[in-house]
């Protein structure tokens, strides 16, 4: 018997079952997965945008709000200048067409090779309950852009703010397909951190030191 069958039959024997899973057993599991019920959720009597702001700030994510997509480059430039950060960055393909140059920025739509200091991405959605960004990886949405640079800037339409992670999954099922999963779903909640040395909190462990979120109203 190979290891797989040995483990599976040991499990079945321990639970007083013999042979292969019966049809009712398999059906019960399939039915539960098809229904994927949500568990109890904490009360959410808050306004999603307001809650996202509060939660993000408590995670030391900074925020900015702009009227429309065209206003993003100026907002990004302002943030970078105010924090004395470099004015060149890499970005996701979906943001390549913005007029970065007029804002005085040098932005390249490509993957990061590991030494870029600023990465600009979109986001699939944001979760108000925890102040979390949800990013899906893909050919045009490489995960490393939000990970390797010291500063991560995310651009998100206000309409893409959901209440809880359950709603984020529902949106992902609706837009990508019930069974479709990207290689990586990354939930990001603020800059990377560690408290491994004497339980002292330090921002910027291996990932970004700063996360900045630009919310587009329209």
């Amino acid at each position: 018997m190979n290891s797989r069958d040995a483990i599976l039959s040991r499990i079945r024997a321990a639970q007083g079952r013999a042979g292969a899973p019966s049809a009712p057993e398999t059906a019960a599991v399939a039915t539960y997965i098809a229904a994927h019920p949500s568990g109890p959720r904490p009360p959410s009597d808050w306004d999603p945008l307001q809650r996202l702001r509060e939660r993000a700030l408590s995670l030391t994510t900074t925020l900015d709000e702009v009227a429309d997509l065209a206003a993003v480059p100026a907002a990004v430039a302002r943030y970078l200048r105010n924090n004395q950060l470099p004015l060149n960055a890499v970005c996701w393909a979906e943001l390549a067409a913005l007029d970065w140059t007029s804002a005085g920025l040098q932005i390249e739509a490509r993957e990061t090779h590991g030494n870029d200091l600023v990465g600009i991405t979109g986001a699939f959605c944001a979760i108000a309950e925890t102040g979390t960004l949800m990013l899906l990886s893909g050919a045009d949405t490489p995960g490393a852009t939000s990970l390797l640079p010291e500063t991560h800037i995310a651009v998100l339409p206000r309409s893409r703010i959901v209440r809880g992670m359950e709603d984020a999954w529902a949106l992902q099922r609706a837009e990508c397909g019930a069974d479709a999963m990207p290689r990586a779903v990354n939930f990001i909640s603020g800059p990377s951190r560690t408290a491994d040395i004497e339980q002292t909190l330090v921002l910027g462990a291996h990932g970004p030191y700063r996360v900045h979120l630009v919310i587009i109203a329209a």
């Binding site: 190979n2 290891s3 040995a6 483990i7 599976l8 499990i11 321990a14 639970q15 007083g16 899973p21 398999t26 599991v29 539960y32 997965i33 994927h36 949500s38 568990g39 109890p40 904490p42 009360p43 939660r55 993957e111 590991g114 925890t130 102040g131 979390t132 990886s137 893909g138 050919a139 490489p142 995960g143 490393a144 990970l147 809880g164 992670m165 359950e166 999954w169 069974d179 999963m181 990207p182 290689r183 990586a184 779903v185 990354n186 939930f187 909640s189 603020g190 990377s192 951190r193 560690t194 408290a195 491994d196 040395i197 004497e198 339980q199 002292t200 910027g204 462990a205 291996h206 990932g207």
Partner: protein, 476 residues
């Protein structure tokens, strides 16, 4: 990792006298314990969510084989390769074989307690592969050649000055001791490894049957790099870690970071499904290893609830024994109350005789466990089993037999306790403290025993009990 739990008593003594360790452990209480309490207040319906979390874990455990096969099917259909390992040696063999197949010379690892169970690093190094731990705590431990002492904060036992010395010696850079600077130094040392490694090895906090995904929950970002940058990704986890759906995962994620570090959510929750897709940067090969390692032996027994464990560490953070002796005294990968049970069940009861006893059964662990594992009850059951199997020392067994003989004879019992109470009072002298007690030198070796007042409870009770009180209070 070799089990050294039989030395618990001997090690515990040394740990109690270690001033630096004691200071570090006090901080753990301040941060993790206080943080957890504050974060739980955010959830008005914490108990409801906690019950749901326990039910989620029970659901997959009750049909574990079917859920595991569902997971395997979905993971495989997305291009991952699922391996089944009966023992820790099987895990090491599979990883070393994969390293050979893909021509791997350097491995980067994110924190994985299962790989600590396996002592995987030794196996890989034995096969000529360089292994670099990338979680800051684990990196420090790898440099210091020490095992972790906590499952969430592995290097809790080391102070900044010690780490500063270690870095100065190993990195050949000017010594600095500010935690922010030390973290930056490690970041810079490790960046090159991230970009040049051939294989990334991670654990998995959960695997999701519905999608065939592995999930890791981290703060530093190293887990994301390990699962994104090298061309081969290997995830190693226990067979009990399967959950049914993304929604079930979501419920557990409301409790795990809150219980572990007192965070509402960890910085990164990464759900990985299959290797890189067409045109995408990322691992070309994704292997998942599911370890039994003794877990299936717990199924269908009174120890099954232990398999619900989501490795949050709350039970050790709140344990007065862990708080006093730290993690190394426990002698294996998992310390604290959960470790006492896992070491006894996965590692063999005879290797860990002291561990189920290393608890006051105060039930702090049972109260905080986010998946409602009745930890004190399980420890008590292990104590019973040790007794039944004749694994307790003869003196303890003889003592218990004597006690039972007396306890079954109320008149004799009353006489003996009266005698003992008076004798002990006499031994206490004017200070009413006993410095040395035969058969209990373990107690009196480190402290005095307060002497009793000379009368037993039953004597006092008999004198005070008024007729009407005795009628209603007869149970006492």
């Amino acid at each position: 990792m070799q089990i050294a739990s039989m030395h618990f008593k001997a090690r515990a003594g040394g740990k109690l006298a270690d001033v630096k360790l004691q200071a570090a452990l006090r901080k753990l209480q301040g941060n993790f314990v206080k943080g957890r309490a504050e974060r739980m207040l955010e959830l008005d319906n914490f108990e409801e969510i906690r019950s749901a979390a326990a039910a989620i874990r029970d659901r997959t455990l009750a049909n574990l084989d079917t859920y595991l096969q569902t997971f395997e099917r979905n993971a495989t259909s997305r291009g991952a390769v699922v391996h089944w390992a009966e023992t820790i040696d099987d895990v090491n063999r599979i990883v070393c074989e994969l390293a050979g197949i893909y021509g791997v010379t350097k491995v980067i690892k994110s924190k994985s307690m299962v790989s600590e169970e396996c002592a995987l690093n030794d196996a890989l190094e034995g096969a000529g592969v360089q292994v670099v731990e990338t979680d800051l705590g684990e990196y420090i431990l790898q440099l210091a050649k020490e095992p972790p002492s906590h499952i969430i904060a592995p290097v809790i036992h080391k102070g900044r000055e010690e780490i500063a010395d270690l870095f100065a010696e190993k990195h050949h850079l000017p010594r600095q001791s500010d935690p922010a600077l030390l973290t930056r130094e490690a970041r810079e040392q490790l960046r090159g490894h991230f970009l040049s490694a051939d294989m990334g090895i991670s654990g998995a906090n959960f695997v999701v049957a519905e999608t065939g995904s592995t999930v890791i929950v981290t703060n530093e970002g190293n887990g994301r790099m390990v699962t994104t940058l090298p061309r081969v990704h290997v995830a190693i986890t226990g067979i009990e870690k399967v959950v049914a759906t993304r929604e079930d995962l979501t419920t557990l994620l409301r409790l795990l970071p809150r219980s572990a570090t007192g965070q509402t959510i960890s910085n990164y929750v990464s759900v990985t499904t299959g290797p890189a897709q067409a045109g995408e940067a990322g691992p070309q090969h994704f292997h998942i290893i599911l370890l039994d390692g003794g877990r299936s032996k717990l199924l269908g027994t009174d120890m099954q609830p232990m398999l619900r464990c989501i490795r949050c560490g709350a039970c050790m953070n709140h344990c007065p024994v862990y708080q006093s002796v730290g993690g190394h005294a426990y002698g294996w990968v998992y310390p604290g109350p959960m470790g006492s049970i896992l070491t006894s069940t996965l590692g063999g009861m005879e290797n860990a005789l002291d561990l189920p006893q290393a608890s006051t059964l105060c039930n702090q662990c049972g109260v905080v466990c986010p998946v409602k594992i009745p930890l004190p009850e399980l420890m008590r059951k292990l104590r019973e089993r040790q007794f039944v199997k004749g694994l307790r020392p003869w003196s303890e067994r003889a003592g218990l037999r004597l006690w039972r003989y007396a306890a079954e004879r109320p008149v004799l019992y009353a006489r003996l306790t009266r005698l003992a109470a008076r004798l002990l009072k006499l031994m206490g002298g004017n200070a009413r403290l006993i410095h040395r007690l035969p058969f209990a030198s373990g107690w009196t070796g480190g402290r005095d025993m307060p002497a009793p007042a000379g009368k037993t409870f039953r004597e006092l009770y008999a004198r005070r009990a008024k007729p009407e009180f005795a009628a209603t209070g007869a149970r006492g």
